[in-house]
């Protein structure tokens, strides 16, 4: 609509109706749907690895002072590197393939996850730990029944931010990389001069990002807050 009025060329500013019909058709005929599935598979794998790594690293940093003194500092440094910066290295190590993309997705989320797990563990009230110990808890049982549940609120917000980082890394990686996915579809749209496709994919990316945040993470946080009786600030 706007482009019609301003007289700008179609291939730069497609009309809204055109965008929506491309979006609709793309979902129906499977072009966009397939890309969504590929992207989701990648982020689930990359994100899961990042969460597991984050927990392990967070645990080690919390548990051992010498790990904190060494690795703790590195994690902060790594966290400040945008994950796409790793891509050239990833291509050299793995080639221009799925692994390279998975690598930067994982690395995009790992450091944030590590930091929130660490601070979650560190902020477990001393009182809970003392109570559990005097009731006979120790070792793995202690970690499982006190340290992890007590740090859930902080870990949840860590998950939320890590997911956002992973999602950004994924799009960047797919855009530059190969093997399908939403980012790749975006690049295809550009190469073919199909601006309607480009904008459709952008919409999908925004919708998925928002849905994950609002529907999954915010809800999880809310339900924990209600159960625990924490005042809801937001």
């Amino acid at each position: 609509m706007t482009s019609r009025l301003s007289g700008l060329p179609d291939f730069m500013f497609p009309s809204l109706t055109q965008v929506f019909s491309t979006l609709f058709n793309g979902l129906i005929d499977g072009q966009i749907t397939k890309a969504i599935i590929i992207s989701f598979k990648r982020i689930l794998i990359g994100f899961s690895i990042a969460v597991i790594l984050g927990f392990i690293l967070g645990y080690l940093i919390w548990r051992f002072t010498f790990v904190e003194d060494t690795l703790g500092f590195l994690v902060t440094a790594f966290q400040s590197i945008p994950s796409i910066v790793w891509f050239p290295l990833a291509i050299i190590w793995f080639g221009l393939n799925d692994f390279a993309i998975l690598f930067i997705v994982t690395i995009g989320a790992t450091w944030t996850m590590t930091m929130s797990a660490t601070s979650g563990f560190k902020n477990v009230p001393e009182l809970y730990q003392r109570v559990a110990k005097t009731l006979g808890s120790s070792g793995f049982h202690f970690i499982k029944t006190v340290i992890i549940p007590a740090s859930i609120p902080q870990i949840l917000s860590g998950l939320r931010i890590s997911w956002a980082f992973a999602w950004r890394a994924l799009m960047a990686g797919e855009l530059l990389g190969a093997g399908g996915g939403l980012g790749q579809l975006l690049e295809n749209g550009r190469a073919l001069g199909q601006m309607d496709l480009v904008i459709s994919v952008m919409i999908i990316i925004a919708v998925i990002g928002t849905m994950m945040d609002r529907v999954v993470f915010v809800r999880l946080e809310r339900s924990v807050q209600t159960k625990w009786g924490i005042n809801q600030a937001t």
């Binding site: 009230p125 009182l127 809970y128 003392r130 109570v131 559990a132 110990k133 005097t134 009731l135 006979g136 808890s137 049982h141 029944t145 006190v146 549940p149 007590a150 859930i152 159960k227 625990w228 009786g229």
Partner: protein, 283 residues
């Protein structure tokens, strides 16, 4: 002679403060406590009451000396010596029932038996209606009762209590005092009770250990007349309270002088905030 049960032998404990100096907190504390007795520890703030309790609980290591329970030395926390702290310390992610069952899962008890036990104890502290509530849905007094239930369900040999009622209002406190005395009589558990409330100590315990401060050492051990069943006549309790207060006063003066330096000029009876008997005005 009655058989001694909990033995505290020559406990010394120092902490390093912010200025990296060693501060002696407990100085050669020795005492013996009979099985099934109710002993209170009173003393000025910072004299090491909580530290002593932590050592008995196994949460802190003494620099020297040892603790033994019926002849066996202890060196780490164990469910035979459960602690009730000043704050309830209930796990907010568990229901009341699950909080009480927490420690039972670590014992070799079947789930069904554990639940039955937990429910029995919760009945004892009059909380049967709240077993499926989460801690934040309870009042402060109710939470502290859950904390007591969680400790009692372990059937500990010794119940360690660190100012368990000091965060509660007077009415709730009185009610819980009576509840605790009932429980004590019923279960015959040995209770080691830390408080700074002299009246509370006199009301509840059989023996009161007065700690001196900086470093904490035993100043006096006072036996309270055994009249728990009938209400003790007011004059007797008052006399006891006054006696302990007199012992404590010199210790409290010591602390205030140290902390406030020359600014220290007035004496107030701040031990009994809501005192209707004007206790201590004549000291």
């Amino acid at each position: 002679m009655k058989k001694m049960y909990l033995k505290i032998e020559g406990i010394n404990k120092s902490f390093t403060n912010d200025q990296n100096e060693k501060v002696k907190v407990l100085d050669n504390i020795s005492m013996e406590i009979e099985k099934g007795s109710f002993v209170s520890i009173v003393g000025p703030s910072g004299c090491g009451k909580s530290t002593l309790l932590d050592v008995i609980a196994g949460l802190e290591k003494a620099d020297s000396g040892f603790i033994s329970v019926s002849g066996k030395k202890i060196n780490k926390p164990g469910p035979d010596r459960v602690v009730v702290f000043q704050e309830d310390g209930l796990f907010p992610w568990l229901t009341v029932l699950d909080n009480v069952m927490y420690g039972l899962h670590l014992k070799k008890i079947s789930k069904i038996d554990a639940e039955k036990k937990a429910k029995e104890i919760l009945k004892m502290v009059h909380l049967s209606q709240y077993i499926h509530s989460y801690p934040h849905q309870l009042s402060g007094g109710m939470k502290q009762r859950v904390a007591i239930a969680r400790a009692l369900v372990m059937e500990p040999d010794i119940l360690l209590m660190d100012e368990p009622f000091s965060a509660l209002d007077e009415q709730t406190k009185m009610m819980l005092h009576n509840e605790l005395l009932d429980i004590w009589k019923e279960t015959k558990v040995t209770i080691f009770f830390v408080t700074h409330d002299i009246r509370e100590a006199v009301k509840l315990s059989e023996k009161i250990v007065v700690l001196a401060t900086r470093p904490g050492k035993i100043k006096e051990i006072i036996t309270v007349p055994a009249m728990k069943d009938s209400m003790m006549p007011n004059s007797v309790t008052l006399k006891m309270e006054r006696k302990i207060l007199t012992i404590l006063q010199t210790e409290i003066d010591k602390v205030w002088k140290e902390e406030m330096g020359d600014e220290y000029s007035f004496q107030t009876n701040y031990i009994h905030r809501s005192d209707s008997n004007h206790l201590g005005n004549d000291i």
